[in-house]
Symmetry: D2
Subunit: 444 residues, 4 copies
C-alpha cells in the first residue's frame, strides 16, 4: 500500500530563505559532549504541564489558550474546517528555533532541552512535538532530516541517527498524525556553502543526492503526504565567480534523478508549488498573487503560512494575523477546492523576545484562528455573491459569439481588424475597484 | 525580399513600465487645432544648427560633443564596435518626451515643435529624428506607432496618418538606417485603461489586434529588424475585480494570432527576450542576472539600455553611466557572440530639468561612450584571462568521469549515494569572491 | 477676530510626492481657448443628480451609498465621531484628478467639465465641490491655490483669478464649512522644476515667496484652520550638480520669512507635522510609527489619510480600507486627545480605471467608514484594557525608586554600575508579542 | 595627558545592524571548557606565514597581495594618503567573524583558533590582530568590549577578563597603533534582547550603563581617538507592546549620563555622526547623501566603509569595490578637509564562502585600493575644475544684491513679492545633469 504522494517544488530566489535555527546542529568534535549516545535520559511527565488541550470557545472568549474562530469539525462551505486547512507544525521553528539571530545568541531555554545535540535529546524533543500536536489538535507536522536527528561523523552514522528518531516518530504518530511533508536540510552544514545540487564541488553534489535519497525514504516510511525540495543555498553570491549555465544544468539533472528514484520505489510522481507568503512579498508580489497564479495553472500544492514585516527586507517568518490577507489566501484555497494532499504548514516562528513556553501555543492558536477567520469571511463573501457578480459582469463582453471565437483560438488578426473597424471606438466602463474593496471589507 | 525578423517578447511585471511621454498624443476634439492636416508647414534648415557630426576624439578630449570611447569602426575582439553595439535611438523619449511627470507639466520646448499634434508636425519631427541619427552616427531607431503619427478620429484615419509618416521615414532612411524594431502603443489611449490583449472588453481586444497588425506591417515595410511586444497595461490593479485566468488565456490567444499573421505575410518567426536594465533592478534582479539568464537559455534578443536611480522605486529610464555595470552588460553580449539582429535601444530619457537641445546629444554620447568603455574593459578582462581561469578552476571537480556521468544524466541516486559514502566528507574550497572582484575592478 | 491657526510643516523626502493631476493647469498661449474669461457659462441643476445625501445605515446595510460605520454625531470615547475625525476632501484629487499617469492620458470625463481651464470653469467646479461636501456630510476641504483657479499670464492676473474663485468659495462655505488647510502649488509649473525655495534661480525663490504670501492670505480669508507647507520639488535629482548647503540655507530663510509674515498679519504661529501614511511606508516606516513619533514629541498636527500598494514603489494615494491599519492610526489619534485644529485630509484618489461619478462617493464613503471602524475598534481595545495592561506591566521595573531616579536624570554611571554589580544578572521576561497581536486582532 | 576624544553617535534605525559574529561569545556553563583560564597556550611563530608586508606596486601589478592605488605616504591634494584615509580594521568582522548566518553554521576555521572562548585564546587572537595590522600597514583598529575578551560569570569577572586583554593590546600597540574607536557590545547577550538603554527592564539599563562606563575607560586607556555609541537592539519589534515615549526618554537619560561621565574623567566631549554606507542604502539614501548631509551640518565624524548588495534587503557589509561610489565618498571627505579624529573603519567582512586566510588580506587591500582610487579621482576632478564650475554657475543668480539679502535673512515676503512682480516670469536654465555625469565619469 503506497501513499499517494506528490513532489512539491518550492521555488525561491537565491536570497530569500525560510528561517532555520542554526544553533549547534552539528555534533561537536569532542565526543565527551555525549552527541550520538543516549545520555540525555528520559523526561518525566508532561512537557507542557500548564497547558490544556486547546478547545474552541468562540469569538467572545478572552482565554488566550482557546480557539475563537477555528472549530475543527465545523462544516463551512461543505467541508470541515480541518479539511480545508490541514494545519501542520514546522518542527524546525517550533522545536529547533533558539532565538539566535545575526546579532545575538540563543534566548529560548525550553525546560526539556539539556544543551546537547544527542540522539537521546532528539527523541525527547520528538515526544514534546507530539504532545504539542495533540494539545493543539493538529494532525500534520513537517521536518528536515537534520532537525529531528543529529548529524553523525559519517553519512552512515547520520542515517543511523535518523532511523532511530524516525522509528520513535512512527510509533508516536499513531493512526491520525503524519507528516504533511519531509525534506532534506541542505544548507546548515558548511559543506553546502556553495549550494547542494549547484555546488561547484562534485563531492557535495553526490552527498546531497545521498541525503535526499534517505529523506525521501524516511518521509515515505512515516506516511508523509508530500516531499518538498527547497534550495536554500542554490544560486550564487556573485556572478563573477559563477558558471550559471553549468549550475542550472546540474540542478536539472539532480531533479531528474530524484524523480527517477521516486518512481523506482513506487511513488507516483507529480510536481506542484509550495507557496510561501513571506517569500512572495520579498519578491515584490502579494501572497494572493502567487496563490492565484499557481491555482489557475493547476499548480497550487501547499502553503507555507507565514508573513513578513512590511518594513523589513528579509523573511521574518511571523504568524499571520492580518484578517484581510487571510481572507484572500482562503479565497484561493476555496476556489481550488482545497489543497489536499497539501496543507498549511506554519513556517513561522516566535519573535526572538517571546520566551515563555505558552508563547508557542499562543502563536499557533493565533495563526490558526486567523486562517479560520479568513475562511469564515470567504463563506460570507460567497453567500453575499456581489463580488463574484461584479467580476462576472466585467468580462461579459466575452460571453458572446466573437468572445467564444477568440477563446477558442479561431479569431485571427484579419477577422479582428474587420470587427474593430465595424465597431468603432469601444466603450470602456469603470473597473469599480473602490466598490470591490468596499464589498470585500464588509465581509471582514 | 523578406527581412529576417524575429519577434521579441518583452516580459514585464504589471507595475514597471518604460516611460512614455503622455502629453497630448490624442487629437483634440476641436478640429480647429489643426490635428490631422498639414498646417504646420515646412521647417527651414537644420534642426540642430550648432551641433556638428559627433566624432571620436579619444579619452583625453574635453569636448562634450565628441566620443571618448566609442569609435564605431574600430575592431575590438574581432568585431567593429558598431557591430557589437547596434545602437538605436528611441523615438518616444527623444522626440516625444516633454518632461511632464505626475506632478508637473512639460518643461521641454524644442524649437521645431509647433504645439500641435498634426501629421505635418509628425513629419517635421521625423526629419529632426534623421538629422539626429546622422549627427550621432547611429543606424537604428525604435518607435511605437502612435509616437510617430497622430491618432485619427477612426482606426482607418489613424492608419492613414501612419502611412503618410512611414512613407516619409522610408524615404529618409536611405540605405543605411532602419528600425531596430517597431511596436504598437497600447497604453496611452483611455481605451486601453484595462489592458489591451487582457482588457475586460472584447472591443478593446479587437482594436488592439488591428493596431498590432498594422504596426507589424509598417515595421516590415521599413525593413525593421524586429518587432517587439510590450504589455504596458496588461496585468491588474487589484485581484478583487479581476479574472486572471481568463485574462491570461486571452493574452495567449492574442500572441498566437500575432504569430499566425507573421507567418502569413512571410516572416520567420522566433521569440526572444528584450531585457530592460531598469526593469531588472525594479524586479529585484541585477541587469547582469537577467542578461545571463536569457543568454544561457538562448533567449537574449535585445537590450533596452537604461538604468534607474537605486533610491527610487519606479523606472527613471536614465542613460547608464556606471562603468562596472556597463562592463558586466558587455560581458554577456560578448559571451553571446553579439546580439544581432537585436541591439542596444536607448530606452532612456533626459532628466526633466535638462532642457537644452544639446542635452539630447550629451546624454546619448554619454550612454554610448559608457557601453563602449564597457566593451573595452571586457577586452582587457579576456586578454588578462585570470577571471575566466578562476571560474574554470572552481568547477573542475566536474571535469571528471563522475562529473561527466552526472552531466549526461547517467548518475542516479544509488550511484551517487555509493560515491558519497566512499568519498567521506567533501572538501570545499574558498569561493574567492573578493579576489574575483579585485580582478574585475582592475579591468575598469 | 482672528482664527487660531497653526502652520503645519509636511516633511517629505525628495522622491515621494503626493499625487497631483498634471493635466493642463496652465493657461494655453492661445487666448481663443477661453482661459481666464467666463465663457464656460452656468451649470444648470445638480452636479450629482442620482446621488442622495449619504446617511448612516449601520454595518448590515448593503447600500454602497450609505455609511456602515461612520455616524457623525454618535459619541465614542467622549467625543462625536465627526470631532475625532474632522474629515476633509482634497480638491486636487477629487476635482482636478484626470486619471492621467506617466503612460496614459485622461480617463475621467466628468459631465460638468467643459474642457477649458477658465475662471468660469473653476467656479463651476467649486460649486460641484460644495455639493459634494454637503452630500457626504463633510465640513472641511483642502486646496492648493492653482487647483482652484487658473494661472494667469502674470502673477497679478493669477492673483486676480484666485480672488474671484475664493470669493465664490467664501459665499458657498456658509457658516459650517471651511478649509482644513490651504497651500501653494509650487511644483506643476515648469518654473519650479529646480525647486521653489531651493531653486537655483533667485527669481523663482521670489516668485514662490509671492505665491505663498497670497496663499496664506486667501486661506486666512476663508477661515482656514491651518496652512501647510509641502516641498514637492525641493531636494535634488543628483548631488553632482547641487549645492546642498546653499539650498538648505535658502529653505530655512524662506520658512523664517513665512513665519514673520504670519505674525505680521495676526496669526499665531506654531509648527506641527502633517503625516502622510503613504509617504511613511515609502520611507520604510509604518504609518503608526510616524504618528507615534510625532505624538510623543507633541508634533502630531494633521493626517493625510491614504495608503499605498505594498508592491509598488511610488505613492499610489489610495483610500485606506485596511481595518488593522485604521485601528492603529486611530489609536494614535485617541491617545493624542484628537488632532484639532488638524484633521484627516483624504489625500487619496480614485484608481485610473474608476470612471463613474458615483465612484467618487464610494471611495470617500469607504475611506471614512474604514477610519470610523478603526475608532470603534479602539474603543473596544480601551474598554477591554488588556493590551494597555500588558504594556504597563512590561515597564513596571521602572516604577521603582531607581527607575524614578533614572527618569529624573539623577542616576549617573557610578550609581548604575554599583546597582548592576549588586543585582547580578538581570531577569528578562518574554515580550509577549504574539499575545499582544492576538489581543489587538480580537478588537477588529 | 588626555587624548582629544570625540563622542561619535551612530544613528541607525531599529532594523539595520552592522553584522557581528554571534558564534559562542558567551562562556559555556561547563567550566571544563577552559573559558576564562589560560589553557589555550602560546602560539608559535607567525600567524600569517605566507603573507608578506603589503607594498605599493602600482596599477599595473598583477599581484593580489600588493596595493595598486594606495600609497600610504604619497601626497594627494596636500595631504598624505594615509592621513586622508586613517584606515581601521574592525576586530569583530576580521577576527570574530565565523561565517555563520541564519541558515548555516561556521565556515571559517582559522588555524590560530582553538575552539574555545578563553582569555588565553583572546590574547592569542589579539596577537594575530597586530600582525595583521602591521602587515597591512594600517594604524587603527576598532573593537567592541566583548569581541576582544570573553564574558565572565559576573560583571566583575567580565571586567577582569577585559583588563587582561586590554593590557596586552596596550603593549602590542607600541607607539604607532591605536584604536580609531572602541564601543560596548550591547546586543549579543540575551539580557539585551529588549534593548540596552531602552530595555523594559531597569536591571538591564543599569547593566548597560556599567558596561559602557568600562568600555569608555578602556578605550581611553588604549589612547582611542573616539568612542562610538551603537544602538543595535534599541527600538522595537512591534509598537503594540511598546511604550515608545518612555523608551526614548530612557535613551536620552542614558546619553546624558555618558556625557557627564566623560567630562568627569577628563574627556572633551563632542558628538558627531558615524555614517555607515550600507545603512544609508538600506534606509533609502545614498551613502553620498548621508555624508553630505552630515558634512554641511558640521557633523561628519567617521565612516563605516562598507557596501551592500543592491538586490538584498539587509546589511551584507561587503568591502566597497565600486569606483564611482568611492569617488563620491572621497569627494565629501576632501570637502570636509579630512575627517580626523575619525577615519575609515572597515565595517566589512569576507563573504561566507571565502575561507582562505589570504582572503582576509585580499579583501582589505581591495577595499583600501578602492578608496585610494576614489581619492585619486577626486584630485583629477578638482584639477579639471569643470564640475565645480558647473555647480557655481547654477547658483550665480544668488551672487547678487537680492541674493545676499535673502541669504542674510533680510528679504521678507513683501520685498520678494514686489521683486517677483517687477521681474515677471523667471528664466530657468537646464540643470545639465547628463553633462555633470559625463564630467564625473571622465575622472574615473
Amino acid at each position: 500500500m503506497i501513499a499517494r504522494n506528490i513532489l512539491l517544488l518550492l521555488l525561491c530566489s537565491n536570497v530569500f530563505l525560510a528561517a532555520i535555527a542554526t544553533a549547534p546542529q552539528t555534533c561537536p568534535a569532542d565526543a565527551s559532549s555525549g552527541c550520538g549516545d543516549n545520555s540525555s535520559g528520559e523526561w518525566e511527565g508532561e512537557f507542557f504541564p500548564g497547558i490544556p488541550k486547546i478547545k474552541y470557545e468562540g469569538p467572545s472568549s478572552k482565554n488566550p489558550l482557546s480557539y475563537k474562530w477555528y472549530n475543527a469539525d465545523e462544516e463551512i462551505l461543505g467541508k470541515k474546517m480541518k479539511d480545508w486547512m490541514r494545519f501542520s507544525v514546522a518542527f524546525w521553528h517550533t522545536f529547533r528555533g533558539t532565538g539566535s539571530d545575526p546579532f545575538g545568541v540563543q534566548t529560548k531555554f525550553w525546560p526539556w532541552e539539556d544543551g546537547t545535540n544527542s540522539v537521546a535529546m532528539a527523541k525527547r524533543r520528538m515526544r514534546a512535538n507530539f504532545e504539542f500536536l495533540n494539545k493543539l489538535g493538529v494532525d500534520y507536522w513537517c521536518f528536515h532530516d537534520r532537525d529531528i536527528a543529529p548529524d553523525g561523523k559519517t553519512l552512515e552514522e547520520s542515517n543511523a541517527n535518523l532511523d532511530q528518531v524516525v522509528a520513535l516518530a512512527k510509533e508516536l504518530q499513531g493512526k491520525k498524525i503524519r507528516p504533511l511533508w519531509g525534506t532534506a536540510q541542505l544548507f546548515v552544514h558548511p559543506r553546502y556553502m556553495h549550494g547542494a545540487a549547484t555546488s561547484s564541488e562534485v563531492g557535495v553534489y553526490a552527498y546531497a543526492a545521498a541525503q535526499v535519497k534517505k529523506a525521501i525514504e524516511v518521509t515515505h516510511f512515516l506516511g508523509g503526504e508530500n516531499y518538498v525540495f527547497w534550495g536554500g543555498r542554490e544560486g550564487y553570491q556573485t556572478l563573477l565567480n559563477t558558471d550559471m549555465g553549468r549550475e542550472i544544468d546540474h540542478l536539472a539533472r539532480f531533479l531528474q534523478a530524484a524523480v527517477a528514484y521516486k518512481k523506482k520505489i513506487g511513488f507516483n510522481e507529480e510536481f506542484k508549488l509550495n507557496i510561501e507568503c513571506n517569500h512572495a512579498t520579498l519578491s515584490g508580489h502579494s501572497c494572493h498573487h502567487e496563490l492565484e497564479t499557481a491555482r489557475i495553472n493547476g499548480l497550487l500544492g501547499n502553503i507555507d503560512a507565514n508573513t513578513g514585516d512590511p518594513q523589513i527586507g528579509w523573511d521574518t517568518d511571523q504568524f499571520l494575523t492580518d484578517i484581510g490577507e487571510a481572507t484572500m489566501v482562503m479565497l484561493s484555497v476555496v476556489r481550488n477546492g482545497g489543497i489536499a494532499p497539501g496543507g498549511f504548514n506554519f513556517d513561522a516562528k516566535l519573535r526572538r523576545e517571546s520566551t515563555d513556553v505558552e508563547d508557542l501555543f499562543i502563536a499557533h492558536i493565533s495563526g490558526m484562528d486567523t486562517m479560520a477567520r479568513g475562511l469564515r469571511n470567504v463563506a460570507k463573501l460567497i453567500e453575499d455573491g456581489s463580488l463574484a457578480e461584479l467580476v462576472r459582469k466585467r468580462y461579459q463582453s466575452f460571453d458572446t459569439e466573437i468572445g467564444a471565437q477568440i477563446e477558442a483560438g479561431k479569431a485571427d488578426f484579419e477577422i479582428l481588424e474587420k470587427k474593430a473597424m465595424e465597431w468603432g471606438e469601444p466603450k470602456v466602463p469603470s473597473a469599480k475597484q473602490e466598490l470591490a474593496e468596499m464589498i470585500f471589507q464588509s465581509a471582514l
